[in-house]
Every structure is written in structure tokens, then in C-alpha cells.
Subunit: 340 residues, 2 copies
DNA sequence: CTGAAAGCGCTTACAG
DNA sequence: CTGAAAGCGCTTACAG
């Protein structure tokens, strides 16, 4: 495999000059540069990133820590990150983090602790203090997208406001008995995404003078089957039922829609449903939702990382100092005026 | 940051001995090894993979090339690969490959061409000859999971057999007018997944003496909205319609189910639907499907890569020499006897 | 079983 | 603008 010495010889220059010509660092005569480039192209030379890293201390590689790959939101974020990183000439090393256990510890204590990545992006992960500390100790910049813990740059939507907005939309339509399909752990961990959305729901209900019964707030895994099962339980028993549901994610909402259909509940006449995410299937399901833009969020996270690493435009202000990420209520046919 | 010299000094040995103790290569007295390990733990030493790679030529890093992250099948494969690689102490570098264009060329000609990965796993990608050649030139082992092109180790289900099996299931139930929701490009590229499944469908129909009208085979993007739109078109017009649909993926099938519901077609009395994949939502939708096991497939691909790299058990036979990956027909309520 | 030395493939002060 | 030399942090023959 061609090394830089080969290029240098072919171009009739020293390795130092060849390096300067190829990396663009330092002065090289225009003509020399061309000769070197031609030589490199001729023998298909590509610098060994490992050797370069060893001396520069930069790997051009960012670690991404993410709890799921197969949930729409996370997949979109990952794609956004990947594209932005590739464009910037960076590699993406993927760590699919489980909730806990030895595998998780291994990621932080071994994989991320080595000098293989320049920075890490944590997507929707609730970081323990010692995990953040491990990164700090190695002086690895950390950018968090959602999730909790970590003190460094954080990008996040305002999940409490999201919950509030969705709920207010239903209240506006005249609904008074509104149920909430929350993510698992919402009440136990008020600082998590699911916790904040639940909080927003409760706030909006309270402000309107309603006090939801505990039975109308059910927690479940944030997937379509999770929403399905929870909605079956919520709507399936006899007696009066809620006229509207705020689901903490679109996938939950899809499950609720499916459950309502199964139960023969007329949609949206007898039941309005609103979700969160702007899932690519939302339009097909005619689902009203509070959209967020995960692909864009991923790209933003990369922007912050790049700035932290001193790439691109100098010293732009970091988003973490600023406003929450954008969201938008999109009204479709799944929500309508309360039955009277 | 601690280097191996620090460990050596602290343990009172040479760098060579420290290295041997830590990597496990070469002889080291048991007591010396313990001293070195203690020293390393004390100062939190972790070897720089870049420096090690430079001399061993091994990066302990595998590149994964995949066209989507946010389609169920691909996400599952990716998770399976990630877990297996992590267990083996390998990093996963992710390349989310677009169909074509400069980004795609850059992945093969720059990112994958450097000495950063030991091998590459291509998931469901149709490799061009020059792409395979680029990898070959760099002597990078290549393992293909599905997709086409590439001559190296290939793992694959028998997609023609899958199409045949699904179709025969419907024929057995007495259906005679069966439509096929195919993936885009199925007729143009007979060697692709979608092409082979279509082929299997046609074979089974032909063997049963049926000749599907061209209007009953429609191609669309392999997603739920794609299936929805295609099924609307297929089932929505007046006149007699098919009594069964073979969808080339579960996501397509879900879309078809949704379309049927929208059109007021009684399920499964008036329409049977069978899919392919064993999607995690299949059970919720009561969908009959030909299951495959993408997580397991990903793990198998890693197994092959590891063997190619000389890790683990020596010289096991490569699956590429052998049988197709397992699939299984799972019958649920979405298919039933043809209406009479 | 252990150490001194060379070298993996680069980049970067330092001279010139 | 260019080159000779040192060095990034490891591992691995080679001696002993």
C-alpha cells in the first residue's frame, strides 16, 4: 500500500513537502503542489488516518451514543448526524447504548475512553454523573441532544411546552376529559422527555381547571404496540371514556388509533388523538401532531460539535446558550371538536 | 494522558514488557503481569488504538455500509451488527449510503479506502463492480448481507422462495386473483430483493395456472405510505378486485391494511394480505408474514467478518458456501379462505 | 521471562 | 518555499 514516501519520491520532493502539499498546511509552491497531487493520484495514495492522528491528536471521528436505532425519531437523528459528519469529512462511530448493565459501562470506560473519537454526541440518553466525568477526564467534548445529565452543550426541544401545546389544542376544541398516553417512567423521572411532556399535560389541564384522574394517565413503552395496548386498556372498559387522548409520541398515537378502530370507536367523532414528533407516517394516519425535526436536530448537533472542535466558522455562539429547538403544531383530521 | 511509558515506569518494567502484559502477546511472568495491570488501572491507562493500529495493521474497526437506518429491517440488522461487534471489542463505523451521487463515491473512494477499517459489511446494497474493486485493491474483506454485486462472502435469504411461499399460502386458501405489491424497480432489476420476490410470486402463480394481469402487480417504495398509496390504487377502482395481496414487505402490507380499512373492505373476509419480514408490529396488525430474522442476520455477518479476520474459532466453513438464511411463514388473521 | 531498539506512517517545528 | 530530523504511542523481532 502506497505511503507518503512513495508519493514524495515520485514527485521528487521530501516527505515533509509532500505532506504539506497534501494537507494544505504550510507553504508549498503552486507548481510543487500540483506535482505532488498528480503523483498521489497516480498511485492512489490516501493518507493513513491513524498515523496522522498520532501526531495531530485529531482523529476526525465522532462517537454517537444512542439508545435506539429503530425508533423513528432516533433513526432520523442518526441519519442527520451521519450526513453532516460525512460532509465535514468525519467518520461516525456508533454506540447503541443499552439502558444499563456491563455493556453500557464498557462503552464509556473502554470504547469512548480511548483516543479514537474527537468528541461524542449523546442522543436522548440520560447520562449518569460518572459517565460525564469519564468523558471530561479524557477531555472529550460532549454534545447532548435531548436526554438528561451532562453539563456541556445541550440541544433540546422544550418538552414541557410541547405537552402543554398539544393539550391546549384539545382543550380549545372543547374537550374536558382528556387522557394522556405517557412514556414509561414519566412520573418517576420528571426531568426526562416523557416526564416533561406529562408535566406539560398536567399543567395545561390544571390551568383549565381540570384534574385528570390517575386512571387517565397511563405509562407505556413509546412504540405503536405500546400505545395499542395502553389505549385498549384506557378505552376498552365500560363506562364513560375520555373524548381525547394526548399521546407522548406519534408511534404511541398510531397505536391508539389502531386500538380505537378495534374497539369500534368512531374517529374522530368520538375520540380525538394528538401525538408528538411529525413522524413520516403521520400524514397517512391523518394525525394531528406537534412536529419536531430530528434530522435537522442531528445536523445542528454536528454543527455544535464542529465548532467545539474549532472547525468551521470561529466562535459562533453555541445554541446551548439559546432557544429550544423548533416545534410546530400541525392539525389534521384526527382531532376535532368534542362531542356534545 | 497516560501513555504506556507511565505504566511501565510505575510497574518498574520496560515498555515492551508492559505492552506484552497488557495485550497478552508473548510471555510475561504472572507476577509481572499483575503488577503491570495494577499500574495501568491505577492511572487509568488505555492503549491508544491508533498507535497500536499503526504497528499491527489492525484497527479493530469494521465499516458498515447501509442504505437506510430508518426502515425496520435495516435498523434491526444494524442493531444486531453493533451488538456483536461491540462484544468482540470492535468499533462500528457507519456509512449511510445513498443510491448514487458524489456522496456515495466518496464513501468508497475516500472513507473506505483509507486504512481505518479492517473490513466492511454491506447491508442490502447493490454494489457496482468498481466499488467492489476499490475494496479489493485495498485488500479489505467484504461481507454482503443481501443486496447484489460483490463476489465475497454473501449471506442472503432466498427471496424467490420467499415470494413463492407467500403466494402459495394464498393459493392454498383458494385465492385465484392475487395482486402483488412489489418494491420499486422489481421488474427492471430481477436480481434485487424486490425483483426476486416478484419472480417468486410469478412462478407460484404460473405453476397454479394463473396469469396475473399487469395491473395487479404494482411497484412502489417499500414503506407503509408507499403500500397505502399503491393499495388505494389497486383496490380503489370500481369493478372486481383481487381477493388477496402479497406485499413484498410488512411495511407495505401495513399500508395495504390501512388502505383497505379506508376503502371499507372487510378484512380478512374480502381481502387477505400477507407480508414479508416479521416486523415487530406484525403481531399487532394480525399480519400473516414470512418472517426473517434481521438481528440474527447481522450477528451472522459479524461472525463471518470475524472469521475472515482470523478471530475466533479457526476455519469454520463460511455460510456463503451454504444454505440461505432462515425464513418462516407465520399465519395470522390477515389471511383466510377466499370468499366464494 | 525481559529489555533495548527499530519502526509503523505520518506531521511539524526548526533551519536554511 | 523546502528538507532533515524528531517524535506521536505503541508493538515486535532480536538478543540475552
Amino acid at each position: 500500500m502506497a505511503a507518503i514516501g512513495d508519493v514524495a519520491r515520485l514527485a521528487g520532493v521530501s516527505k515533509a513537502t509532500a505532506s504539506r502539499a497534501l494537507t494544505g498546511n504550510g507553504y508549498v509552491a503552486e507548481e510543487t503542489r500540483r506535482r505532488v497531487e498528480t503523483a498521489a493520484a497516480e498511485i492512489g495514495y490516501i493518507a493513513s488516518p491513524d498515523a496522522a492522528s498520532l501526531v495531530t491528536g485529531r482523529t476526525k471521528n465522532v462517537g454517537v451514543v444512542i439508545p435506539f436505532v429503530n425508533r423513528w425519531f432516533f433513526g432520523e437523528v442518526l441519519e442527520g448526524i451521519e450526513r453532516a459528519l460525512l460532509t465535514a469529512g468525519y467518520d461516525l462511530t456508533l454506540y447503541n447504548l443499552s439502558d444499563s448493565g456491563p455493556d453500557r459501562a464498557r462503552v464509556f470506560e473502554f470504547f469512548l475512553a480511548r483516543k479514537r473519537v474527537d468528541a461524542v454526541i449523546a442522543v436522548g440518553v440520560d447520562l449518569a454523573e460518572h459517565e460525564v466525568a469519564a468523558l471530561d477526564r479524557r477531555e472529550k467534548p460532549l454534545v447532548c441532544l435531548g436526554g438528561t445529565g451532562g453539563t456541556a452543550a445541550r440541544l433540546s426541544v422544550d418538552d414541557r411546552a410541547v405537552g402543554q401545546l398539544a393539550t391546549e389544542h384539545l382543550l380549545h376544541l372543547g374537550h374536558t376529559r382528556i387522557a394522556h398516553l405517557a412514556g414509561a417512567g414519566a412520573s418517576e423521572r420528571p426531568d426526562t422527555v416523557q416526564g416533561l411532556r406529562r408535566h406539560g399535560f398536567l399543567d395545561a389541564m390544571g390551568a383549565a381547571g381540570h384534574d385528570p384522574s390517575p386512571a387517565d394517565v397511563v405509562e407505556t413503552e413509546m412504540t405503536m404496540p405500546g400505545g395499542y395496548r395502553a389505549a385498549l386498556q384506557l378505552l376498552g372498559h365500560p363506562g364513560p371514556r375520555p373524548t381525547a387522548v394526548f399521546a407522548a409520541s406519534d408511534e404511541l398515537a398510531f397505536g391508539a388509533l389502531r386500538a380505537a378502530e378495534r374497539l369500534g370507536i368512531a374517529m374522530p367523532a368520538e375520540l380525538s388523538v394528538v401525538g408528538v414528533d411529525g413522524h413520516e407516517y403521520a400524514e397517512m394516519f391523518d394525525l394531528t401532531t406537534v412536529e419536531q425535526y430530528p434530522g435537522e436536530q442531528g445536523r445542528s448537533a454536528v454543527g455544535v460539535v464542529l465548532r467545539l472542535l474549532g472547525e468551521g466558522a470561529v466562535a459562533d455562539p453555541l445554541p446551548d446558550s439559546g432557544a429550544p429547538l423548533p416545534t410546530r403544531l400541525v392539525v389534521r383530521a384526527s382531532t376535532t371538536a368534542a362531542p356534545r
